[in-house]
């Protein structure tokens, strides 16, 4: 693998699950990250996830509220189903559905957010650059 590979991660997150301002990257120059905030994770449409990959993301992470705690009742369940659908589509495309992941996260749990993004970066190191970027 190319040692210069710097994974690009796009994070879609519900504003009730995660706040970018309460999170500070410890990644240094190990990865590039872009946050896209949504009023509810149910707003994350299939095409937004795919277009993140078209825009050059190597991995996409969706952060949603814990199950049973969505302010809009079932938004996080909808997001989970869409992510599963798009993971299958990414497999069909041939760029590996593991590049896309969804995690439930409690509001303010920055330690969990850091861990999730660290895991995504490690995952990208294994999968390598997005072959369709």
């Amino acid at each position: 693998m190319d040692k210069k590979f710097i994974p690009k991660i796009t994070v879609f997150h519900c504003i009730n699950a995660f706040s970018q301002t309460s999170w500070s990257s410890v990644g240094g120059n190990k990865f590039e990250i872009k946050f896209i905030k949504l009023p509810c994770s149910s707003m994350v449409k299939d095409v937004f996830l795919l277009r993140a990959f078209e825009a050059g993301a190597d991995g996409v992470v969706v952060l949603v509220c814990p199950e049973g705690q969505c302010r809009y009742v079932e938004g996080n369940i909808r997001a989970k189903k869409r992510v599963a659908w798009v993971q299958n589509l990414l497999d069909d495309i041939g760029i590996d559905g593991r590049r896309l992941s969804l995690s439930n996260i409690a509001s303010g749990d920055t330690a969990a957010a850091t861990q999730i993004i660290d895991d995504a970066v490690k995952n990208m190191a294994e999968l390598g650059p997005n072959p369709a970027a």
Binding site: D46, V47, L50, F53, L89, D92, A132
Partner: protein
């Protein structure tokens, strides 16, 4: 509505393989409602194909458009400029829409992106069920508004058969017995006498087995 399902991506890739400029044309009516070919599905398919082609090192230019209905020429005309810019059109409409496009655009290949499956209803969010076979001779008045031709696996007109169990079909226990539904409905309507009527063997000449059908309304022809 006409219910359709998008073809697998691998099949669509094969279908569009000869072309470098394609138009993905959605239809904003039936196939939009069943999540097969509306504006959202056009966008997702276009994105997926761009990613797949880039990964495979193939150059392709994809244009996206959705019109209100692909089975009517008045709406199809709106797509003419986009069609003229493309080598082929991948239609996400039902088979009627694909053929209507082919009729309008004689020199542009029109390719199917969905499999048209049946005439049905939205049973609940995300679940579509077949409820009409388009037999051309509707007798839902006798059957309490429930069609045994479509919904009974044996198409019995003087049912039920002996295989119904707990209101479910013996062919598929997930399927309601159409005749159980008919009897329950006729009871509720106070029309159980309908069951005393003998329904003679169906004349299938009005169905597709009599060849492609045509409806002519002289009063609308000028």
């Amino acid at each position: 509505m006409i219910v359709a399902e998008q073809k697998p991506l691998s099949e669509i890739k094969e279908i569009i393989a000869p072309y470098k400029k394609i138009l993905i044309l959605g239809c904003g009516t039936c196939v939009k409602t069943c999540f097969a070919g509306g504006e959202d599905e056009v966008a997702v398919l276009a994105s997926a194909l761009r990613l797949a082609c880039k990964k495979d090192g193939k150059e392709i230019k994809i244009e996206e458009l959705t019109i209100e209905r692909q089975c009517e020429d008045e709406f199809i005309r709106e797509s003419a400029p986009a069609v003229s810019r493309s080598e082929g059109v991948l239609s996400l409409a039902c088979g009627a829409g694909v053929q209507a496009l082919a009729r309008r655009f004689a020199k542009t290949p029109v390719l199917p992106g969905v499999n048209t499956t049946f005439i049905g209803v939205l049973e609940s969010q995300g679940i579509f069920t077949e409820e009409c076979s388009g037999c051309g001779n509707c007798r839902l008045d006798i059957f309490g508004g429930i069609c045994p031709v479509t919904r009974c696996a044996k198409k019995l007109l003087n049912g039920p058969c002996g295989g119904s169990q707990n209101g479910k079909c013996e062919i598929n226990p997930d399927t309601d017995c159409a005749w159980q539904l008919i009897i329950d409905r006729l009871k509720a309507l106070g029309q159980m006498d309908n069951l005393r009527k003998y329904i003679p063997p169906k004349n299938w000449c009005t169905s597709l087995s009599g060849g492609p059908r045509k409806l002519v309304r002289e009063d609308h022809i000028i």
